[in-house]
Subunit: 319 residues, 2 copies
């Protein structure tokens, strides 16, 4: 066990309240006054989660967006956020606040409070944000643990764009300028849609967000649900910008499925909900694509053009 | 305006939701399903809020306790917390978790979730905790802004112990060993009592916690309420341990009133609630002491032995 894995194991021994969902879901779910309150917290560290020369507006946007993505994955409507700011250079902080404000407006998640701290001189800074939302009415808050054999596996949006966007940010990607811009935006400004999570919540069995890579996240869902998951590599949705820059041969598809930062929804649902799922997405002008199936068994399997495919060595970002 | 003051000013321009209470209270108050949800977040930074050689159990305890103190000041019962942990040496982290667990049990505030992050090598670490609680039934959540002329001013517990405890921790204080131990414990392990805040909530006009020094916090309450506050220096409650080590001459009393980290409740109430306030505290075996009055006017005034006293230069910790 790595130090981090051992630490999280020790944390789980403390976080025994049912609301903590064993620290194994995207968010905690606490019953308050007849409402399901959904709670999540993410921290970004300079030099680890973002680079000192990343645009501060985008660092702030992404901090809000990744938390909103967790709420969306639990079918929750954003209700507010608190965040902790480590003070730095005044111009950087002002730009950060502008991005924070923009994201809070975009996702309708009002800033309610937080803390402001000074760091020792020259120390890398970190920013923590806690987001809370209210669960969809009339259905349980979806978890990662409820996928069932026979379910269809779905994903929202397109996969792999942010992974290419990161390459573009690092100057490691050539191609059509407008496509590169679109991919970079997917990396820097993820745009989860909580209304889609709310609309899907009553229709799904399991739901989570894709943040560390489609394959690794799908295998986590399978493990949490004690089922097997098979993904059809050819069905994984790629954007026009992705295809323009990278094509869509098998190895490129597998790279997309291992890339992080998608912040899309991965969910499973019984076949009979197919029409309602497509309609819910269509109403919100969002794409959803069936990409696989859940079966009795364990772990992740891949299929391509009707044949089984060995798993690549790397499935995504492993903590 | 300092950089920090300017930044908080800019934050206030963003945090316009009524639930944010203009970022001027101890906590945010959000209505959820007929409940008043009280939310607060505090961050501690290595080398700023604690020292690398402070006992990790105590660092964790204090992080929980200062947030619980904010809940208590709003008359809220703890409902849960989320926290973000910056990984460091495994033994330190394990000891920190033990202190966190101990505090969560003591304050009945279950750990619900959070985040774990890696820091760049050698970087000072920081820990953020978000605490939530539910407001007392049948009365508004007390704010800092509702003190009224004619109110009596009260404080819970004793004042100045943690200030002496800090000196003891730094090796700058001599005296009776058991008194020093008691003072050090007040500094390292503050022990707010949320049940006292809950019991007082229906009886008070304004309430807040004392964290930066009794004088500076009282002057902040006066400013927020647009009233004047007069404190009777001789009435400020000092513990037996405090008096054993430092005595209680005027200058010592003023130092106690400027010292931080008390985490006691400062509140104002109409005279006719006096008996009920004393009874509420007595039921919980907690001390409350009347220390002053609210009047029309502005700012902080001090009285001692019937005469006005000029304000000392330093009223407490100024952000």
């Amino acid at each position: 066990m790595t130090g981090e894995a051992a630490f999280i194991h020790a944390l789980r021994a403390i976080a025994t309240a049912p609301a903590a969902r064993r620290l194994a879901d995207d968010a905690a779910v606490l019953r308050i006054g007849g409402e399901a309150l959904v709670l999540t917290m993410d921290t970004v560290v300079e030099g680890v989660h973002y680079l000192p020369n990343d645009p501060p507006q985008d660092v702030a946007w992404k901090l809000v967006a990744v938390n909103v993505s967790d709420l969306s994955a639990k079918g929750a409507t954003p209700a507010g956020c608190l965040y902790s700011h480590a003070l730095g250079a005044s111009a950087w902080d002002t730009a950060f606040l502008a991005g924070l404000d923009e994201a809070c407006r975009r996702f309708a998640i009002p800033l309610l409070g937080g803390d402001t701290v000074r760091m020792p001189d020259g120390a890398p800074r970190s920013f923590s944000l806690t987001a809370l939302g209210t669960g969809a009415k009339g259905c349980p808050v979806p978890s990662r643990t409820a996928a069932r054999p026979g379910d269809r596996v779905w994903v929202s949006g397109t996969i792999g764009d942010a992974g290419l966007g990161l390459k573009a940010a690092l100057g490691d990607l050539d191609g059509d300028a407008s496509a590169l811009t679109a991919l970079l935006a997917r990396y820097r400004r993820p745009a989860p849609e909580p209304r889609l999570g709310v609309a899907l919540a009553p229709l799904v069995h399991a739901m989570m967000d894709v943040s560390d890579g489609l394959m690794v996240d799908a295998s986590r869902m399978a493990e949490a649900s004690a089922v097997g998951v098979t993904l059809d590599v050819g069905a994984v949705p790629l954007s026009a910008a992705f295809r323009a820059v990278a094509g869509e041969v098998l190895e490129v598809r597998l790279a997309a499925m291992a890339a992080g930062d998608d912040y899309e929804l991965l969910f499973t649902a019984p076949l009979e909900n197919t029409a309602r799922i497509l309609e819910a997405a269509s109403t919100l002008n969002r794409q959803v694509t069936a990409i696989g199936t859940i079966e009795a068994g364990a772990g992740l399997s891949l299929h391509h053009e009707g044949a089984a495919l060995p798993l690549p060595e790397r499935l995504g970002y492993q903590h």
